[in-house]
Amino acid sequence: MHNMPSIYGMNFLEKSMLGIIPETVIIIFAFFVLFLAFFEKLAKRNNSYYLSLIGIVFSILYVLMLAGRNISGFYGSFVFNGFDAFLFIAILFSGLFTVLMSKDYIENSGMPAPEYYSLILFGLSAMMFLVSSNNLIMVFLSLEFMSICAYILTGYIKDNTRSTEAALKYFVLGAFASAFLLFGSVFIYASTGRLNLYGIHSFLQNVSYLGVAGSGGSIGIKVYISAGLILFLIGLAFKMSLFPFHSWTPDAYDGAPTPVTNFMATGIKLAAFAIFLRIYSLIYDFNVMNFNDILWLLAVFSMTFGNIAALLSTNIKRLLAYSSIAQAGYILTGIIGGGFYGYSGTLFYLLSYIFMTAGAFSVVIIFENSNLISLDIKKYSGIGYKYPFIAASMSFFLLSFAGIPITSGFMGKFYVFSSAVKSGYNWLVIIALLNSAFAAFYYIKIIVKMYMPDKEPAAASSNSSVQGNIPEIAGGAIDEGIMITIIICLILTLFMGIFPQIFINFANNSAGFLWRI
């Protein structure tokens, strides 16, 4: 409650502006990139690509400058504190990766680059707004902003039926879900009369002091606010792609251009979880309603459904989509675990998650760019010998998904699960562990394909056995952007797996900001 006065007290515009500088930078660069589209000459080559990279880097620098500040601007509809700093960095990284990995892809797709990059930048800024927004209006607006960018990006590739269809589905479902979110906020507003999150917080606090919201009291408020929160949760759960609000995930991931898939899988998920975490931590203290057992159900269903569905899927993008549903379940475990420990665990997991996902998708893109290979996993057979480094890193990311030690995936899982055990959700953890046991199967299935082509090594001589069906990378050379992405992801995944302490410290700081509210 320490900064309550600063919320309702007078704020200076500069201070408010200071809070949103990173977003602003991104937006400005987005407009630059967009302007590039007007000049034929500039639109050629990769100006927009580099420009957006520069923008993101700048914004990261700004975030680092602001880190540690605690700003609340625009009459409390924004806050910027350690929590946001952490998530901004994460989101910007996911944007960075998305941009890095989309150079060749966009060229191959033959669509104009500037618009694409500007959309990504806009999406990024929207996510950052969403994270730092502290007001139901802002939440709704930035959510919609983000989603609209995502819709467009999903359907970005013209005359590609899959892309269009994905956009269609994503849009209809997304709008449907945000309608729920909206209606939820109606109820919340109606019951509390506040739109500012801190306001809601304080309201609930007072009510709970009066012993109303708890057991008994005026049923009206209790019912309204619970209904509102549930509807709100549904809206966010959609973005977090939790079962049963996941149904867009596989199709959208599948149809969308792969960099965009990566964007959705990392950025949007990150932002959604962040805002959910913020709201949840606000309402958690006083059990307005016992959220946890609903979340419990969602988590269990998500991970189980995701893993089981992924078990037999043959298209790698769909497989990753399903696995991301499962991962969402794991992340939710941390939130359920709750408390300082649980939240920092969740943040840690989110961070590690974006790195492994980005890595995996960039490997997928490499083979997609060389148009010889489809998304069918069968086509991956034997690439382990042709491209040792790429295959090795791919296996490493997959192992990280599976949660095998010395990868960040293990540390994250360990963190969130132990937090859940700490608050006594033993069955949840057992189920989650069993899940990750048989989830390992389909991750390993890909590794099997890459390294163990189904022919006797004795039969064919050393290398010719695996040369046969392997695609040549188009033009032989792999785009350096993607390689950079892979290397960064590899290093960070490994590093977070072995020496997680420094990242845990970051997560602790930001979680601390959550907690102090």
Binding site: F176, D251, L312
Partner: protein, 627 residues
């Protein structure tokens, strides 16, 4: 280091080094290895004789070479006990081994794997020596099994013959069955006394509850049954005749098979404190003696006949130790070692002469062709059938007299009948092989064996004549008794002498038995006043029973081996693959089934997606508001 201790450890050292030499560098030595090996064993024979006199004129001692296994309270060292019993055994073992080694040089001449043969023979001698002198049960058990292993290797010496390798395997496994009991006995002993060292164990025995003692004794005896081929574990010994004959002479007549008797004599305190166990020993011994002799009556394979006679003679020894007259048992052990070794060597020489012929029906009239062999064989035969003044007479009568005087009349009667049968079958063999008209094909050139083979035979034969006088009756005033019985003075007397019939009456009876057996063989096979066929037709079922070795092997095969194999196959094919692994793979397939179902939900229809979403929403609201 004290000289006698040095000697003690040198005795096993020589054969051991021999084993290593031939085992590693055998192919560089060629024929030489035989002589050197015999030399080694000879040296340890001389050393043991020296040790014998040292002990005879001083007293026994024990020594520990090095601490071997120390784990917690479990302590066992490589340590030897040298007392009169062990030196007697040592002299016997090394002596017979030396002769057999020398004999083998001739017998195995030109064999492929000559050095391998001698290396394992040396290893056997080493193990046997260690078995005799070992001072704790762990060490005993170790070499108890080691000798079994040696016999496994040597029986299967001609491993390319399936029958040979089968026999070796059978010997090892049957012995293992016995050792299983032996091991259990050791465990029980350790569990009760917390030590395996002989003296310490023996101090505990008198104060031990008798049922424990009995249990221990019986379990140990199981080991003896296996090792000394007593019923029902006797099946391996006849098959063991697949091995080279000197091996049979050394291992399966003189030394290894008598280890059981030695063990009981060594643990006489345990056995004497448990009358029940001793009863069992007596019973088993008696039955086996009779049973084996009965089978031996009708066999035609000379080595098998001698093998069965070995089993039956071992039965005598067990009778002896079963009634607590350990000295007599050991005495019979020694004399039997001599004359049975002799019989085997001579049988080997016969085989050698006939280039591997074993079937009596294809022999005859060999006396003229191989005089030395024949004479020595007859000496052995007389000794076996207990005709004075041959050693067998003294030793066997010592046992039978004791049995009678201690009042086990039934056992005594059986013993006498067995004596009769023994005399009959051995002389049946002698007559058929050496005297009756020749049935072997003239093409085969029969020759007397070389000196290197005959000399050991002659030595053993002469021993068979003189050694008996060590036990000049009355036995318990004889030299041997006087020398050895001091070792057994601590034994509890559980079977006191009830009547004191003078020895000459009993001896007379048994001598008559022996003579009548010989006479029966004589009229059947030389005079032919009664044709064997006639006898055969009269006792047809009995004959069939005896001829087919009482069908023991068949029974085992059908009642135990076959069902077990079927059961194991069932375990593997059904329990392992179908049930357990089936469960494992079943879960996997179950998951993939669910996966198919789950992906049905993702059917690509926008409406169904929206439906799922809104159903989920409704469900959540509902879930909350019903609570």
């Amino acid at each position: 280091m004290d000289i006698k201790i040095l000697i003690t450890w040198l005795i096993p050292l020589f054969p051991l080094s021999g084993w290593l030499l031939w085992g590693l560098f055998g192919k560089y030595f060629k024929g030489l290895s035989g002589y050197i090996a015999s030399g080694f064993v000879g040296v340890s024979f001389i050393l043991s004789v020296v040790l014998f006199f040292i002990v005879a004129y001083s007293h026994g001692f024990t020594d520990t070479l090095y601490p071997w296994v120390h784990a917690g309270i479990f302590k066992a060292g490589v340590s030897a006990v040298i007392d009169r019993l062990s030196v007697v055994m040592l002299v016997m073992v090394t002596g017979v081994s030396t002769l057999v080694h020398i004999y083998s040089i001739g017998y195995m001449e030109g064999e492929k794997g000559f050095s391998r043969y001698f290396s394992f023979l040396n290893l056997f001698v080493f193990s046997m020596i260690m078995l005799v002198i070992s001072n704790n049960l762990l060490l005993l058990y170790v070499f108890w099994e080691a000798v079994g292993f040696c016999s496994y290797v040597l029986i299967g010496f001609w491993y390319e013959k399936k029958s040979a390798s089968d026999a070796g395997k059978k010997a090892f496994i049957v012995n293992r069955i016995g050792d299983f009991g032996f091991a259990a006995g050791i465990f029980l002993l350790f569990a009760t006394t917390k030590t395996l060292n002989y003296e310490t164990v023996f101090t505990f025995i008198p104060s031990m509850p008798v049922y424990t003692t009995t249990a221990i004794a019986l379990l140990l005896f199981a080991g003896a049954v296996g090792k000394s081929a007593q019923f029902p574990l006797h099946v391996w010994l006849p098959d063991a005749m697949e091995g080279p004959t000197p091996v049979s002479a050394l291992i399966h007549a003189a030394t290894m098979v008598t280890a059981g008797v030695y063990m009981i004599a060594r643990f006489h305190i345990i056995f004497s404190y448990s009358p029940a166990a001793s009863e069992v020993v007596l019973a088993v011994g008696t039955f086996t003696a009779f049973f084996a002799a009965f089978i031996a009556l009708t066999q035609f394979d000379i080595k098998r006949i001698i093998a069965y006679s070995t089993i039956s003679q071992l039965g005598y020894m067990f009778m002896a130790v079963g009634i607590g007259s350990y000295t007599a048992g050991i005495f019979h052990l020694i004399s039997h070692a001599v004359f049975k070794g002799l019989l085997f060597l001579t049988a080997g020489s016969v085989m050698h002469g006939l280039s591997g012929e074993l079937d009596l029906r294809k022999m005859g009239g060999l006396y003229s062709k191989m005089k030395t062999t024949a004479v020595t064989f007859i000496v052995g035969g007389l000794a076996l059938s207990g005709i004075p003044p041959f050693s067998g007479f003294f030793s066997k009568d010592a046992i039978l007299a004791d049995i009678y005087n201690k009042g086990f009349y039934f056992a005594w009667a059986i013993g006498e009948i067995t004596a009769l049968m023994t005399a009959f079958y051995i002389f049946r063999l002698i007559f058929l092989a050496f005297f009756s008209e020749s049935k072997l094909d003239p093409a085969k050139h029969v020759h007397e064996s070389s000196k290197i083979m005959t000399v050991p035979m002659i030595i053993l034969a002469s021993l068979a004549v003189i050694i008996g006088f060590l036990g000049m009756p009355p036995f318990n005033e004889s030299l041997f008794y006087g020398f050895l019985h001091t070792d057994f003075k601590n034994a509890a007397v559980f079977a006191p002498a009830v009547n004191n019939v003078p020895w000459y009456i009993l001896s007379l009876i048994s001598v008559l038995m022996g003579l009548s057996g010989i006479y029966a063989a004589y009229i059947l096979y030389i005079k032919k006043t009664v044709s064997p066929e006639k006898i055969k037709s009269i006792f047809k079922p009995l004959y069939a029973l005896s001829y087919n070795k009482v069908y023991i092997d068949e029974i085992y095969n059908f009642l135990i081996v076959k069902p077990m194999l079927v059961f194991f196959d069932f375990l593997w094919r059904v329990v392992d693959i179908k049930i357990i692994d089936g469960a494992v793979n079943g879960t996997a397939s179950a998951f993939s089934f669910f996966s198919v179902k789950a992906r049905k939900i993702q059917n690509g229809m926008l409406m169904s997606y929206i439906l799922t979403l809104s159903i989920g929403a409704v469900a959540l609201l509902f879930y909350y508001f019903i609570r």
